[in-house]
Amino acid sequence: MALRGSSQVEPGRVPAGVLAVLVHIIFFAFMIFGLNWKTYPPEVMMVDLWSNLPQPEQPITKATPPPPAPAPVQPPPEVKPLPPEPQTPPPPPKPDIALKEKIEKPKPVEKKPSEKELKELKEKELKAQKEKEQKEKKEKEQKEQELKAQKEKELKEQQARIAAEVEQLQREQEANNRRQAQAAAQSRLGNEIAEYKAKILAKIKGHIIMPPDLPGNPVAEFDVTLLPGGDILDVKLRRSSGFAAFDSAVERAIFLAKPLPLPPDPALFPKFRNLSLKVHYRE
């Protein structure tokens, strides 16, 4: 019976143990490397809500008007020297057409006198002088008239040009106004941010129980991370005031002050997400 009871030697006890260990090692390796155990802070979605869409496009429309503006500005320098202008406005645009007229007119003035002189020399030398003078007078008058007409024309053109320019100026001004309005809005936002930062600081200050009798005016600087509701996610002491009592008093006050006042406009929240606060011991 004893012999039979011993039966046979069980095979593979040790290999089985080794295999079992191996299975567990593989399992844990899979758990460690197969799964991504690290969590990354969720990328904060920044959504800007625009109440009026065109804002980003405005710069483009503003940019387009300028191109026409430079063109009229160039002509004036060429024109200025020619006509004696009663008006001072600096941009009196005189395109090339005006120039040509000017050049053509002087020519007839030279030609006519020369013809007359030739005739007078041939036919009447002395008598003709009077006629000549008369004619000259007439011509002068004519010339003057022509000049006047021309001047009037030029004036009209100038006026039209000026009007156009004024229009353009107005347009530019409008653009400027818009820009200014934008800047004003921004500064208003800035004001709001500053206002709420002051409010936050005031609320925190209301909760500080100041440790008595600290020398000087120590400043504690804190980095505060906020949640959209005004709740406090994290407070870090960035620069100690040198007095632990004051630092901890301020830190406690920051937590007591929650929820911190935030502007109602959620678009402004990103400015408040990471606040850096400076708290002075004395004002």
Partner: protein, 228 residues
């Protein structure tokens, strides 16, 4: 309040920060899982060997060699012989013993032989089936043990939540994650154990049928020899 947004979620950190009962459950499950895998591999080897040896012995037996010679070789290699060979050896020894005594009725001889074979058969089945119940237990219980660890861990993490005015999922998530590791370990121990148990039980059943039919056939052969 120094809770940073990024939590260290490495598994070892989670296990290390778990509460003591959860850690105990995890340790228990780890040991159980190791033991069950150990038995799984041991049984695998044992059953494979038993099947291979039975095949070999049946091959030799049905080639019709001298039964006395077969018995001699089986008796000499008792410690390396397979189950079937040992059943044959026990039966044949009993048969020879009875045959030597004069005046024995043939039915008495056959009864004794059959009893001897059955005793060996039962011993062999017992050794084949050993530890199978452990696998069955692991398969059915370890999920509950893991679940217990998980429930405990989740209870703890929710209790911690009661002190927080603004409850966020970030407060409970690490606790639940670490608690769920216990369930994972329980399942990891249970699933292979159940599979192995079912497979081995089936294999052993088939071996048992083979042994039984062999016993019947052998007793026929021996009876023919006794009368013939």
């Amino acid at each position: 309040m120094s809770a940073t947004v990024t939590q260290d979620m490495s598994m070892f950190h989670l296990i290390g920060s778990a509460s003591l009962p959860v850690q105990l459950v995890m340790a228990l499950l780890l040991v159980t899982s190791f033991l069950s895998w150990w038995f799984i591999f041991r049984k695998l080897f044992v059953i494979r060997q038993a099947m291979r040896q039975s095949d070999e012995f049946e091959n030799v037996f049905w080639k019709g060699p001298d039964l006395n010679a077969l018995y001699q070789s089986a008796a000499s290699s008792r410690h390396t012989a397979g189950s079937m060979e040992r059943i044959f050896e026990a039966g044949f020894r009993e048969f020879i013993k009875h045959k030597r005594q004069p005046g024995m009725d043939i039915s008495t001889v056959m009864d004794g032989t059959r009893r001897a074979m059955r005793a060996t058969y039962q011993r062999e089945m017992d050794s084949l089936e050993s530890h199978l119940s452990f696998l069955a237990t692991v398969g059915s219980v370890s999920p509950y043990v893991g679940l217990f660890g998980t429930v405990w861990g989740i209870m703890n993490s929710f209790r911690g939540l009661s002190n927080v005015t603004q409850a966020t999922i970030a407060h409970v998530a690490p606790g639940i994650a670490e608690a769920l590791i216990a369930t994972a370990m329980g399942l990891f121990a249970a699933i292979p154990a159940v599979i192995a148990y079912n497979r081995y039980a089936n294999n052993i059943d088939r071996l048992a049928t083979r042994f039984e039919s062999f016993m019947e056939e052998l007793s026929n052969v021996l009876q023919r020899q006794a009368t013939g």
